[in-house]
């Protein structure tokens, strides 16, 4: 997560890259969190099954947020060029960057909360 940085002068490629990497950081920390909850590995390998397990173990809101980030990552990686050029950004790099920074902050907050729980779980074992 620390290496997925959006800077004030990041270009479209760097922004897309940072969003994608942030999601994967979150995906992997969720994977670790589920492993600590003894969820079998076949239930945390695919994105959809992992998100479903997060819904079961952590609630609907956590699952919805993670699914929202999954969609965002998919758009960042594959939605070319609509993601950046269509509404609401209309090709405005500053708007796109600002929105991506907010999304990334949300992913970082989510990531940190899983890390915190993992640290507390590993400390109590």
């Amino acid at each position: 997560m620390a290496t997925a940085v959006i800077r004030d002068y990041s270009n479209e490629f760097e922004i897309r890259n940072a969003l994608s990497r942030s999601y994967y950081a979150l995906f992997h920390v969720c994977h670790a969190w589920l492993a600590m909850q003894n969820v079998p590995s076949n239930r945390r390998k695919q994105h959809e099954t992992l998100i479903r397990e997060i819904r079961v173990r952590k609630g609907k809101e956590s699952g919805d947020r993670l699914d929202g980030f999954r969609v965002l990552r998919k758009r960042a990686d594959y939605d070319e060029p609509e993601f950046f050029e269509a509404t609401p950004f209309g090709g405005d790099l500053d708007k796109f960057r600002l929105s991506a920074m907010r999304d990334q902050d949300r992913m970082t907050a989510e990531f940190d909360s899983y890390v915190s729980e993992l640290e507390s779980l590993s400390g109590s074992r």
């Binding site: 940085v5 800077r7 079961v56 173990r57 609630g59 609907k60 956590s62 507390s120």
Partner: protein, 287 residues
């Protein structure tokens, strides 16, 4: 059976019992797990938990007879009503523990419950570090004057409880069954995170005085007649040590001085303390 059918069955039963009004539809969910179903019923009123739980149990039994597996969670949404400081925590035998005890009242609709939160000594020490109270770090006793403020501790306990209560699904915290919690050091680190600027400057100090750069850093300062303990004059040198995603020589939007000036007083003080602590660790012959 489909998820929608299960939802209809459960909702009809809840409706007949007059419980739909307290159902939190945004947090409740019904999932198909391929080997069975999962239902999470979330209520806005904790006084209706027992009645709801009984309904879900009945449906579970009925489905079991039909060979359908249903896993479930029935829980309530709680919020923190008030927190008070009790004093040093005590063990079962009455002996003092290395922790401070707080009591919190939680409410969910018309139901209230009381929970106890013990702030461990390690957590208190972490807080002391965060508030630049280095002279208090390690002290086993908490004092009202010159230590972390009671109001700050209460605020932290509230945030900790909010965080515990925010989890749903099977990992939710049930304050009625588990009314005792321990607030540990890791929780302080998470709840009171350092600013990005502080983290960047702290990492730059680590790099500046780390194994690879220290010799060069000290030689460079000496050549300019800058004393290592002169923090203000050393600060600009940290600009070229922003690590991680910012490689050396990479363009960086902010200088170490600007970043430092943007910090709050507390973080500035803590950063200085951190720097002097690192300087103190340098072997005397190198200084």
């Amino acid at each position: 059976m489909r998820t929608a059918e299960l939802e209809t069955v459960l909702m009809d039963r809840l409706k007949s019992a007059g419980l739909v009004a307290v159902l939190n539809e945004e947090k409740s969910q019904f999932l198909d797990l391929s080997d069975g179903f999962f239902a999470e019923i979330v209520l806005n009123d904790g006084s209706k938990l027992a009645a709801t739980d009984q309904i879900v149990r009945n449906v579970k039994e009925e489905l079991k007879e039909k060979g359908v597996q249903l896993d479930s969670v029935v829980r309530a949404v709680w919020s923190v009503k008030g927190i008070q400081f009790i004093g040093p925590a005590r063990g079962v035998s009455g002996g003092l523990k290395a922790a401070l005890e707080f009591e919190a009242i939680l409410e969910s609709g018309s139901r209230e419950c009381s929970v106890s939160v013990e702030v461990s000594l390690a957590a208190l020490n972490k807080l002391r570090e965060k508030f630049a109270l280095s002279e208090r770090v390690g002290s086993p006793a908490w004092v009202r004057e010159g230590d972390v403020h009671e109001e700050t501790l209460k605020k932290l306990v509230r945030e900790f409880l909010d965080f515990q209560l925010s989890s749903g699904g099977t990992s939710y915290w049930d304050p009625i069954r588990f009314p005792k919690l321990e607030l540990k050091e890791t929780a302080v680190s998470y709840l009171m995170q350092d600013s990005k600027g502080f983290k960047q400057l702290q990492a730059a100090i680590d790099d500046f005085l780390g194994n690879y750069a220290m010799e060069y850093s000290l030689r460079d300062l000496a050549s300019r007649n800058v004393r290592i303990r002169d923090f203000e004059r050393v600060l600009p040198d940290l600009s070229s040590h922003f690590g991680g995603a910012y490689k050396r020589g990479d363009q960086f939007a902010t200088s170490a001085v600007t970043l430092y000036q943007a910090l709050g007083n507390l973080e500035r003080k803590r950063l200085q303390q951190y720097y002097f602590q690192k300087v103190a660790e340098i072997p005397e012959q190198l200084k």
